[in-house]
């Protein structure tokens, strides 16, 4: 069975052709790979391919199908698209909230200031919320003229990474 795997903006077609213990034979976008792959520590894979020794580290993201993957050179977001994800994604078509309408904090921190409230009309560039982490304050600003739909946090709250703080429309 072939899977679709998204790596950043690239979408790859991946098929597992054969396997025996750590030896895995697969096809990625038509390239055949015969590799020896072992998880040596949790989340750390050692891959031997054609004599080359690769080390790849990964962390599971929000779901079991999403990963942050570190190679020597670069960090990627990787997502496995299986039948279930395709079904969900087809069902959600047209229903999805635009990402720019959701204000989330990229890192954990503390809400220092919320100079707007639900119902406010805001203009592009206007500060919506100020989050402090490690002695540095970050201001989140509106990208376009919008209306504040809902404020989900209050001043003094601590937030987790990727926590939704505000909805706009």
């Amino acid at each position: 069975m072939a899977y679709e795997v998204n790596l950043g903006h690239r979408s790859a077609n991946v098929e597992l052709l054969n396997r025996a213990g750590n030896h895995v034979f697969l096809d990625i976008d038509g390239r055949k790979y015969d590799v020896d792959i072992v998880m040596v520590e949790n989340g750390v894979y050692s891959i031997l391919y054609n004599g080359h020794s690769y080390n790849v580290e990964l962390i599971e993201g929000d779901s079991s199908k999403k990963f942050i993957v570190n190679t020597f050179a670069k960090t990627f977001n990787v997502e496995i698209v299986d039948a279930e994800s395709k079904y969900i994604s087809s069902r959600n078509k047209g229903l999805s909230v635009e990402e720019e309408n959701l204000v989330a904090s990229p890192m954990p921190g503390k809400i220092v200031k919320i100079p707007v409230k639900a119902g406010d009309k805001v203009i592009a560039g206007q500060t919506l919320i100020v989050v402090e982490a490690m002695k540095m304050q970050s201001e989140f600003k509106a990208s376009h003229d919008k209306t504040v739909l809902e404020v989900l946090v209050k001043e003094g709250d601590t937030v987790n990474a990727h926590q939704l703080m505000m909805k706009l429309e």
């Binding site: 795997v5 895995v24 989340g43 894979y45 079991s64 020597f72 890192m107």
Partner: protein, 502 residues
Amino acid sequence: MIKKVLVANRGEIAVRVMRSCREMGIRSVAVYSDADRNSMHVRYADEAYRIGPPPSRESYLNVEAIIGAAKSSGADAIHPGYGFLSENASFSARCRQEGIIFVGPDPYAITTMGDKIIARQTMIKAGVPVVPGTTEKLKDEQEALEIARQIGVPVMIKASAGGGGKGMRLVKHLDEVGSAFRRARSEAINAFGDDSVYIEKYIESPHHIEFQILADNHGNVIHLFERECSIQRRHQKVIEETPSPLMNPELRREMGETAVQAAKAVNYKGAGTIEFIVSDNLEYYFLEMNTRLQVEHPVTERVVGVDLVKEQISIANGNPLPFRQEDLRQTGHSIQCRIYAEDPDNNFMPNPGIIKHITEPHGLGLRCDGYVYEGYEIPIYYDPMITKLISWGETRVEAIARMKRALYEYKITGVKTNIKFLEKIMDTRDFIEGKYNTHFIENNEAMLHASRPCGIECEDMAIMAAFIDYIAKMESIQPPRYTDELGSNWKDFGRKRNVLRL
């Protein structure tokens, strides 16, 4: 004789101080905020006392709580580390009042060096060169022009109440002084409600070079040579090294003597650092004195072969310095990289979080001063620095090669760090040639933010690892048995996955 030291700090510096205490047979006492119960310094210490809630001003800046912990534990001395209360004169005075040794200078030295204007006046009196200019408000255009002529262009006209570049005017020709003075003054009044401006020589390619000094209670003051600290982002040092690539033996001797003079001028005791600003043509000016241990002290320790924390404690014990100036030598070259939990591609935004996996570098010529461990959650309340990586080499070339090797070995997942950014600095021509000043990061912006190439095979490896991980999980989906769960532990769980059962 000090027998028990309370370390009024957290993070890597708390652990570092406790390590030297342990080697000296001195017991160490940790203090911690509620955000730090699991922090390494609490685990490392012999004793540990809670001092308050997470925000610094309620814990690590909470003088009453810290003095209380010192009394409960019966500590003879308090080591303040850097930051927090380390340059707080009233804390130093309070310790003395309570009969506790403060490992650092007396309140007089802290106060004098803590006030920019008083420090400047004291240095001028002691014959230490300061950046030419005024500190007082300029009366009028005429005075501005006179002084500009005296100190020579380029000069900078600055608002006394200023900051953030506002009310600042660079003057390259004398005939610009008048208009620059007027504009700076009008900007100043608008921005700060105060039209005071002053004038200062402008250093075009400033180098930040500092000298480590040690002074005992018997009048002996020595320096332990320089550290080059010009590589900074947002006015925070990122990389430090010694010897400075800019230095020559004559200048080193001269600046070292000046640093000793500066320390003597405030009757300094303990370890301290004189910071200088140095121009491309090697004119140097006193900038400020840090009356405490510096973050970058390890490069000096490595090249001079001295444990500065032990010397601090020895001085606090009233011992004379164990060496004279002529006993000290610089051997080889040392570089320090500060590893921050931050996102270099997003304006260096801090990135606290949970350390999922960490592999720290080891081997010849490396030192790694950190405090995080697997499963540790870096709190949102404090500094984003998680580790200092220090390399040593027979030559600067070797120290750079070793640092690159160390950064390659350093693996951390769970939080974003500046490790790849530091690797790129090591590959930057200006750095390799040792030709850089405080503008280094802005001058090399493009190169430092370029992402490294990951070819199609490299990409496929990333896809493969994620795919195989996913497949392995899918195939093992079955409610774990009761007994499995009981018997399993973290590491066993890992072990079971060592061999993929696809």
